[in-house]
């Protein structure tokens, strides 16, 4: 049984079909890149997966159980965690406390959460700023923090929305390293990104969308050489 | 007969409410904060009018513009000194702008009440009448000359302000800023200036309404508290930031209180509005008109 199954999901805003019978599924422990030109429906799909949008038709299943239309809180409790494109941290709480909040909210004991948080901060090389208020951190650091808080309790599946957008190369390195290590530990990911090079070196498999449809779903290299995909991107370039 | 009396009384009171509420509503529109010191603008106006007329012995018709001037200045000063942080240095203030606004305006209100209590004294002064006729009888309705003149003046002022906001250059800019501060500033509108104008206008209007009522409700330092609470009710009822909304809401509240005072309960008359406010915030936060109360 697939860990996450997306089954003929459609969503339209007014006339525009943002998602058109999009379907694909991924097994536990997979690290899948979700790519596609602008307005291809990546973010809409992610919003539906994380419960921030409801779809018009189709179903989403987590471990076989339908999770379509659940609220973000409910999904978070079921282990579907989404990292936002623009980070939302708690500006007047220390980086450390930011992590603790998520940990405790997802059922860790305070000492447990503290242990875990210290580990993650180490892993994200944020240890030296752990006592600064999140509001004082740089955009990149905030992103890392957001990152960390997603993994306070290893989610069933992590949805990363443009994690590398506008991030300093060194931080980008830290992130992809972080993702790789978690993946190695068997963590399931969907990574949405424009940054194809990173996707290539990170994700064994990729799903490419265009105009709300899934136009390719295979090994990343194969996807990137796929004619349809190239056209899609070129079409964008031409436009 | 009684019905007519109550209706007139309600309308008159409503007009005065409106004069005050408009300013509050504009301030909310442009800064997205509630000015808890609004009643004190009213109080200062009432004193400026009464004292200038009684002590300087100038004609009330001169005291009225004087009160307006004082109100305008007060509004301007408050905006420059206290409201600036709400939009300059926005980022770091973003989190705490609400608490800052609540604390500062609330403290300002207590400050003004007590400073006036010390400087001017706690005594009630009766403001001079604009015309000295204790009763004009129009058909079945009786009204004091001053109340009549004051009400008419209030209506005139409201109309003028409404026109200014709707049609003049500055009015348009204010509208723009209150619809979308960022957008407006990108469009090259001086949002700081807009806020300053709105605040001082609000101060002026409240002051005038205080001045006009100084003959009817003899001003004391805490005279502004009740009108302020009424105008909170009104801006919520009329939809935060909507001027026409607040005008209509004012009339509704005035009439409601007038009738409620007789047919429901005189004792609890002043709680009606507050109940309405709570009900609206809960079930129709966007008010009769205007924007939604749930800000996310």
């Amino acid at each position: 049984m697939p860990c996450l199954a997306i089954d003929h999901v459609s969503k339209s805003f007014g006339g525009l079909k943002a998602l058109d019978n999009a379907s694909f599924s991924l097994e536990a422990g997979e690290l899948v890149g979700l790519i596609g030109p602008n307005g291809s429906g990546k973010t809409t799909l992610l919003n539906i997966l994380s419960g921030h949008l409801s779809c018009d038709s189709g179903t989403v299943r987590l471990d076989g159980k339908p999770i379509t239309g659940l609220h973000p809180e409910a999904l978070a409790r079921r282990g579907v965690l989404r990292m936002f494109q623009l980070t939302r941290s708690f500006p007047r709480m220390s980086a450390f406390d930011n992590l603790l909040v998520t940990g405790c909210a997802l059922g860790l004991t305070l000492p447990g959460a503290e242990k875990r948080a210290l580990g993650l901060l180490e892993d994200l090389s944020l240890t030296r700023i752990m006592n600064l208020n999140a509001g004082q951190l740089s955009g990149g650091q905030q992103k890392l923090l957001e990152f960390g808080s997603c993994f306070m309790v290893p989610p069933r599946i992590a949805l990363l929305d443009e994690p590398f957008a506008a991030v300093h190369p060194t931080l980008k390195e830290i992130m992809s390293g972080f993702i790789r290590r978690r993946h190695a530990e068997g963590q399931t990911f969907i990574v949405v990104s424009h940054d194809l090079p990173v996707i290539v070196e990170l994700c064994p498999r990729s799903v490419c969308m265009n105009a709300g449809r899934v136009i390719a779903d295979e090994s990343t290299r194969a996807v990137l050489t796929d004619k349809v995909v190239i056209e899609a991107y070129l079409g964008e370039a031409a436009a | 007969m009684l019905t007519l009396d109550l209706l007139i009384n309600g309308l008159v009171i409503g007009v005065f409410y409106a004069l005050m509420a408009i300013g509050l509503s504009l301030i909310f529109g442009i800064l997205k904060v509630v000015n808890f010191a609004h009643g004190e603008f009213y109080m200062v106006g009432a004193y400026a009018y009464t004292l200038s007329a009684l002590s300087l012995g100038i004609s009330p018709w001169l005291s009225l513009p004087f009160a307006l001037l004082v109100g305008l200045l007060l509004g301007l000063v408050v905006e420059r000194l206290l409201m600036r942080p709400l939009y300059s240095g926005y980022t770091s203030w973003g989190v705490m702008r609400d608490e800052y606004a609540v604390i500062v305006t609330f403290a300002l209100s207590i400050f003004l009440i007590n400073i006036v209590d010390k400087v001017v004294g706690p005594y009630a002064y009766k403001g001079p009448a604009l015309i000295n006729i204790s009763r004009i009888t129009i058909g079945p309705v009786a009204i004091s000359g001053h109340r009549l003149v004051a009400a008419l003046l209030a209506v005139a002022i409201i109309v003028v302000v409404a026109l200014i906001i709707r049609y003049t250059f500055w009015g348009r800019q204010i509208q723009a800023v209150s619809q979308n501060r960022l957008g407006a500033s990108l469009a090259g509108i001086d949002t700081a200036k807009a806020s300053a104008i709105v605040f001082s206008l609000a101060g002026g209007l409240a002051a005038v309404s205080g001045a006009l009522l100084a003959n009817i409700f003899n001003p004391t330092p805490d005279v502004g508290v009740f009108p302020a609470i009424k105008s909170y009710v009104i801006v919520v009822l009329g939809g935060m930031g909507s001027v026409p909304g607040s005008i209509i809401a004012s009339i509704i509240l005035g009439v409601l209180e007038s009738f409620g005072g007789v047919y429901i309960s005189y004792q609890y008359r002043d709680t009606f509005g507050l109940f309405i406010l709570v009900l609206f915030l809960l079930f129709r936060p966007q008010g009769l008109f205007g924007e939604k109360a749930r800000e996310v």
Binding site: - | I13, A142, T220
Partner: protein, 406 residues
């Protein structure tokens, strides 16, 4: 820590308070609680203040009480019970006064006497009219002022002789107001037939009384009894007049709270008070004892204002304290002073004052025969002296002297 620094100040002050009490032998401290800010009646408070000061000067110029000068300590009650309670508490515990005088609003007095009773300190109720103050039966409390039952009887009799059929009272939401309104009701029921009476309570804080007034336009009563203190009373009169409800040929206004002699009276009421009947505890045409004449003269010299009832009541209150201390051969111990006051028989500014020891209802520790009169305002801006006396002390109302509105 800043807090610590300040609290050290507190200690210092505490010490000071201590030492100062140690030498409290001289002078004699008397606490005066009055309203000096709204919602209390500031004009009343000021008259009481002047009265007490005039009396203190007279006593001290005469060498004080057996060589000890009288020192007055004023506290503002705002006419608010909570503030009055705190004020009396402060006067007794911080200033160590030997007695409290001056209270002129019943609600404040009712809160104050509780504290005075708790600390067992004599309390001269200068002008709290509410019968409840007497009914509490506190040994510390003495009442040289008028009381609601007496006023109610006077009002009922006046209504009767006016031949009113339909009487409405507007009272303020205080012990004094509501209490008097109810008593008038019972006295009217007791002493007259065929008068229909009801009362409406008005909130001192809110100032728009029209919703209460407008319903009267349909069929106005014969007499409207006004039981409010200024500024509420002024606003009520103005709005009655504005709506043409009173004063009219049909409807007369009766002021049961003696507002006509306040300095700001005419500035506030204009022509709304013409032909108003006034229940008066003082009128220049009343005969005064010597002491009364002296106090009146000193007051006019001090304030350039005409004498008024509160002046005399306040003066009497302070004199009584002094007399009590003398009678108790200069002891300021509460028990001695109270015993002295119960036995006192002394000619004050308004007549010979004695206190009933009868522990029944309003009588306890009350000067029962407080003189009163009824007079009528007949012109705008009329000084009290020219107001038309229509009932002399101890005589029935003289209808022939009453002017009716055309």
């Amino acid at each position: 820590m800043p807090t610590r620094r300040v609290s050290l100040l507190a200690i210092a002050a505490g010490m000071f308070a201590l030492t100062s009490t140690a030498f409290a032998a001289d002078p004699i401290k008397v606490g005066v609680t009055i309203a000096q800010s709204p919602p209390g009646s500031v004009s009343q408070g000021t008259q009481v203040k002047d009265g007490a000061e005039v009396a203190a000067k007279i006593i001290n110029d005469a060498g004080g009480v057996n060589g000890r000068k009288i020192q007055l300590i004023f506290e503002d009650t705002q006419g608010v019970p909570e503030k009055a309670r705190a004020a009396v508490e402060k006067l007794i515990t911080r200033d160590q006064v030997v007695a409290i005088i001056g209270e002129h609003q019943s609600s404040a007095a009712l809160a104050g006497i509780e504290v005075a009773h708790r600390y067992h300190v004599p309390y001269i109720n200068t002008n709290g009219w509410s019968d409840v103050i007497r009914e509490k039966g506190y040994a510390e409390v003495f009442n040289p002022g008028v009381f609601n039952s007496r006023v109610a009887i006077a009002v009922a009799d006046t209504m009767k002789s006016l031949g009113a059929k339909n009487v409405l009272a507007f009272c303020e939401n205080t012990d004094y107001g509501v209490g008097l309104a109810k008593l008038i009701g019972s006295q009217i029921a007791e002493r007259t037939q065929g008068i229909s009476y009801k009362y409406e309570t008005l909130d001192r804080a809110s100032k728009d009384y029209l919703p209460a007034i407008l319903p009267l336009k349909a069929n106005p009563p014969d007499v409207i009894v006004e039981i409010l203190l200024p500024p509420g009373a002024y606003i009520l009169l103005n709005q009655l007049n504005e709506q043409g409800v009173a004063p009219t040929a049909k409807t007369m206004i009766y002021d049961a709270s003696g507002i006509a002699d306040y300095p700001d009276f005419w500035q506030n009421v204009g022509d709304s008070a013409v032909n108003m009947l006034v229940f008066g505890l003082y009128h220049p045409k009343m005969a005064l004892p010597e002491l009364g004449k002296k106090v009146a003269a000193d007051y006019t010299a001090k304030t350039k204002a005409d004498p008024n009832r509160l002046l005399f009541q306040a003066a009497d209150s302070l004199f009584l304290v002094a007399e009590a201390i003398k009678a108790a051969n200069n002891s300021t111990k509460p028990d001695d002073m109270i015993k002295a006051l119960e036995a006192i028989k002394w000619s004050g500014t308004r007549g010979e004052i004695t206190f009933s020891k009868e522990k029944s209802g309003f009588k306890y520790h009350q000067w029962l025969d407080v003189p009163y009169v009824t007079f009528q305002v007949t012109k705008v801006k009329q000084p009290v002296a020219d107001m038309n006396l229509v009932q002399d002390p101890g005589k029935p109302l003289d209808l022939s002297r009453i002017v009716k509105t055309k």
